[in-house]
């Protein structure tokens, strides 16, 4: 799925625009060590964590985007880092549960 389609699907706001256009798989977790072990190229990662290390984990894992649920946002310096690393950051008004449900329904495979 294209990130542009994901934005519409999740009713999401683009907080930072990255450099990958396609999503290969999805995952949701807030424990960074678990995420690190799961990270896949092109992954869409749903998390409520908003600090700098989220971007480091997403970048090292070659992920496509970070999705923040429930309208959560990130501070501007964190978003600057996301742009620098080419990671898209989206904020959706939906819950993490609903976001994963919608992505799964659209055929995005688990990580």
């Amino acid at each position: 799925m294209r990130i542009s389609e994901l934005i519409t699907l999740l009713d999401a706001r683009v907080l930072a625009e990255g450099n990958k256009a396609d999503i290969t798989c999805g995952y949701s977790c807030d424990l960074l060590s678990l995420v690190m072990g799961r990270g896949r190229e092109g992954m869409a990662w749903v998390t409520v964590q908003t600090h700098l290390n989220v971007i480091a984990v997403a970048s090292l894992g070659e992920m496509a985007c970070v999705i923040l649920p429930e309208g959560i946002v990130m501070e501007p310096p964190i978003l600057d880092k996301a742009r620098e690393e080419g990671i898209t950051v989206l904020s959706s008004p939906k819950t993490a549960f609903a976001i994963c449900g919608l992505m799964h329904q659209q055929g995005i495979p688990p990580a």
Partner: protein, 138 residues
Amino acid sequence: MMHTDYPVEAGDFTRAGEASADIKRRLRQLGVSTELLRRVAVASYELELNIVIHSVGGQLSLEVDSQCVRLSSSDRGPGIVDVAQAMREGYSTANDEARSMGFGAGMGLPNMRRNADVFTIDSVPGRGTDIQMLFELA
């Protein structure tokens, strides 16, 4: 042959991950495969974060030759009393600050061992911890 050292400060969560990002960048320039890059990135990030979270400071080193990538760390303490326990998945002594950021899942050392071809850890309580990992090229 390439050799680079990265000093890592205790408790510095804002710079955590920078050494790992640089290691990944260098290995990509050397043409290391995507899958190996991913394994080294996971291991180096865990290694770097372990120094930030658990030690009083230390350093990370990257060495590359025609055969393998070698990642190692050496810290100045406090050392691990029971290494076998520290190696168990889910066991962590991370403090509340680290846990609130999503660290402390007790997966750091297991993730390193899983991703490296060779993993060794030596720790002396009161002195410090040395970790070495080898990743075979091709």
